[in-house]
Symmetry: D2
Subunit: 345 residues, 4 copies
């Protein structure tokens, strides 16, 4: 009954069990353990690439630490105005990069508009000492509007970035949700599409607290471990981060979890889409729905016990489904909406 966020959920049972198994015996600290090694191999296999990876515990840490090695302090990170790194991390990128600037590139439906990006980069003053220097393009996949960049869209953006010598970061807090939405391979959605560094989220999709920063070009990662340690993000009992991620990737748990969450969102969207007093704001392509409700419907849903965030305090609602969203909750939600919609004249 709680659609506030995918972080109100707990832990996938497979992942919880993996913690117990990892607890057998001793392990050398700070990543010098078998589970962390296994995780590297697993990711290399899944992404079909000789990558370097670093587990951390939060998405903000993953993003900020990734950016810390991708831009100099006098650099600029091009991102969408709604991006998590801009809006929801209380300045973490600025802290970890030593004060780099986030330059906001607008675009519809949470996606950076390639024309805007090209135009802004052309007038950015690369090489001119007065201006911060373009360094990184950061893309959010799934976007903060619940939409998903198509592969061609990713490629178009990273091509522009490459033309201006930018590195490309992907904030994949909901990476698996995007993956099952597109039905493509992890490689296709990342390095084959021009992504250099990925923040691979797991926490929102069934882990307790685990993300991985993945470098598809290992030479970019050379100093990352110093930044991670210096940021207080190097776990001594690292095996318990790695155990979560191994279990997350094992037997396609990540895809199954995401598949379920996306399906629940699709069901919700389908049930709500043509109702009077209900207005879906964006295409529902993953596990988030942004919807305006008439006041009567909103009230009916709240009275029925549903929880969700109202972004503007009035009518603009975000609904997030998760790996363990109960289909009955979705059905009931739709029923309540239909019933109260029907009462509108």
């Amino acid at each position: 009954m709680n659609f506030c966020s995918d972080n109100v959920t707990g832990i996938s049972l497979e992942i919880l069990e993996a913690l117990g198994i990892a607890n057998q015996g001793v392990a050398m600290p700070y990543g010098d353990d078998e589970l962390t090694q296994a995780l590297t191999h697993k990711l290399q296999e899944i992404f079909a690439k000789d990558l370097t990876m670093f587990p951390v515990a939060t998405g903000s840490a993953a993003n900020a630490l990734a950016l810390a090695v991708m831009t100099p302090s006098y650099g600029a990170v091009y991102c969408h105005p709604l991006s998590h790194i801009n809006l929801d991390e209380c300045g973490a990128p600025e802290l970890f990069t030593g004060g780099a600037k986030l330059v906001l590139v607008p675009g519809e439906q949470g996606k950076i508009d390639p024309d805007n990006l090209a135009r802004m980069l052309e007038s950015a003053g690369a090489g001119v000492v007065h201006h911060v220097q373009p360094a990184v393009l950061s893309l959010t996949q799934v976007t903060e509007c619940g939409t998903v960049y198509q592969l061609a869209e990713l490629q178009a953006l990273t091509k522009i970035a490459r033309q201006h010598n930018l590195l490309v970061h992907m904030d994949g807090a909901r990476f698996a949700n995007a993956l099952v939405s597109l039905g493509c391979s992890p490689a296709a959605m990342t390095w084959q599409a021009g992504v250099d560094v990925l923040s691979l989220g797991a926490t929102k999709n069934g882990a307790m607290a685990a993300e991985a920063v993945i470098f598809f070009r290992p030479e970019l990662a050379k100093t990352f471990h110093f930044h991670r340690k210096r940021g207080g993000h190097l776990f001594s009992k690292m095996r318990f981060l790695s155990a979560q991620l191994v279990a997350y990737l094992d037997r396609s748990l990540w895809l199954r979890n995401a598949q379920h969450a996306n399906q629940m969102a699709a069901n919700l969207a389908q049930g709500l889409q043509n109702l009077p007093g209900v207005n879906l704001l964006f295409p529902v392509e993953a596990n988030e729905i942004f919807v305006e409700f008439a006041p009567e419907i909103l009230k009916a849903l709240q009275d029925a016990g549903f929880k969700f965030y109202i972004f503007d305090g009035k009518s603009l609602v975000r609904l997030v489904t998760a790996f363990n969203t109960a289909p009955e909750d979705v059905e009931k939600f739709i029923k309540v909406a239909i019933a109260s919609s029907a009462k509108l004249n």
Copy 2:
């Protein structure tokens, strides 16, 4: 057989079970949950004080974030040369404080010498624009030499700090080990002794990854949550940090774990102390032993399968015991040492 560190161990079963129990149902994120509330009450009860607390996942995060709100960027943190914040955090305090300076105050056995502290503060140039401004005294309890400040020693140091308007931080990565060593109350070893902010460690003593930053003067904590978020250290599924800490404190688990670890170290020390070719460097007051071994003994121990860090690469060994150190391992260690010591002529 692994005495490298207390972080090579896993998780206390009580804490592991608590994660499973916490996994029931949904919980609002970022600390707005019942377990986090329970933890606050628990700590207030244990410390007999109206305190403010913030769970984080690593000791470096706890220390660096605590310091971030205790000193301005142009401030100075007085600490021991061997302190973790100086030697073992790759500059995390400098990052989170915006570049404050750690001023090193020497002293025997890992303890800051009060005369050195007083002398250095008197010539520090408080108020003079050319010099970083004295802001914080940071004490490590248990010290990095495995010794424990007596209450009178703590009081003497915090009194000097107070005379110079410094705030006092305690790095309590092994706080419980110190507590059972002194046999005093948590209050006596902290705020009653002049400590303003405590990094309360749990990871080394049976938690998976959990520490708490505790402010005994809540007014000092006002901006802490922004720094924690900005540092990437705000966990969305916070209940799993709080669950670890609640279980850690429940039914005196923390004290029982520390008691065991300390006893194992005491046993080790007693077994080794008078052996030829073995030289204990510091009083063994908690769960760490610093010892020089004759080369033959060192080799015999390694050949027997014991693991430990050799700090100088030659003879200087640190042995750390933990909540789950097997008494048999300690006995065997001593036996091997005795046997190889006996062969020395």
Copy 3:
């Protein structure tokens, strides 16, 4: 013949002479000298206020250091997209504030639109840990479009700032030009209009390298001197900064210089305004003119030896006049423009 900027000019003779006079005898360093004291009194008199002030040498230093004490590292500075602190300081505000975020508030003619400001502040998430916290409104007077905020405009903006507990900074790199444009008192354009901290520029208006950071609420300035020193901006031979500023303010030199520069710009604007092939982009209210030229006119001006920046590399020109712009140069510029305009069909 050089209209590139007001910084291509040299030093007003009165100011150059003042350096020679200040060179008599010894003076205690770092501002503990008579000239710096005299400057404080002079500014207090001119601004009719018990203010605190700090000389520095560059405008970027003045702005960034002012902001360093006005916002926490997790704070947000609201400013115009075209503002110097955003576009032309290579991230200096980010460096000196420890990574605060510049939030861009659009508006016509280089001025922040009050409705935009109010709307953005209302949804900024004050108090919410995920978001940077609104801390400062920074206004640029003269704006980067060469326009001047009217007093009522300033008051409207600072009132909104005050309602949201923001401090107000004014980037007065061309403060004197604005002052003579409005014909008001320094007090009316600053603290009486709600400005807390002023970067008072002199370099662009006849000084060699001298600005003053002025705090109209001295309690805000308490830690400024540490930040200035730490930024490498505390001059040992401070008297030579203060000497420039005293001479600048003495016998209304600053106003006379600005009056001349503004007059030259007005003359230019009047001569150009109705010419075919010439398009003035903004009202000319101080000493800057933004103008689009037909290619033939642009070429004719360049061929005649005039120098200026072409912002888009094609047709968008900025002309800046200064305290020592020769009226003949202005007349000649207009003549060339008229002649080549006349040739357009």
Copy 4:
């Protein structure tokens, strides 16, 4: 009569005149002017090296900006405990480097002891993630004790630095004083001795406010201009910094000034050295004298109108001579000291 510092003096007349001459005509800003170009050539000639240089206005700026490009934020700068960067810049190096750590290497007479340096670097933990990474050796020439490193001493230290892959910085706030003391070439005391980057001071030796950061390996300087701008240290009317430095170097003014200052210090030292109640603490090798005076002598000197800093507030005095110290003042100082010394029993 003022021996407080070489920064209580004014400007050499040659340098003051150069400002007037530089004030002729317009010049493009930010270093794109003839005087800055001339300065580069002058320095290349003087140092016999294809170097890159950047004028700034203060010594703290020169040092901190140099270090900003020499160390990563997780790096360590090895320097003497008494060094200006450690004691007298209020944390400027920490600000500009993003929080690098200054590691203090003790040694007699203000000089880093090579054995200490080697020992500390060997145990610094290069490559180990927990520790800040050795990055820079910073040497102060003239030292803060008024002594001068001999060329062989410099070479020995830079050799150790090189063996550990450190870059070498020289804080040459009193570079000319050291040069005339050693009687060697600028090349011999810098790049030929293993120095990579020099902060060349002029302010203390006759300039108004001018220093140059000199890179003897231009590839190290690639990003310096961004850091300088970002630090607010890029002067728009740069020609006036360059004019000072050109005049400073022209016709050996810098050497003549330093020669005079050193001679005055030598005279003082000779006059004081065998007096009862007077104790010279260090060899006097440049323009600074550190001396303990009996209370009666101290009082007599103060009564006679002499000004100087008393470092411990009691008896430990620093006397600094300058380019324009009057020989009569020195003679009088000695006379007063002799007279009051004679009265001691």
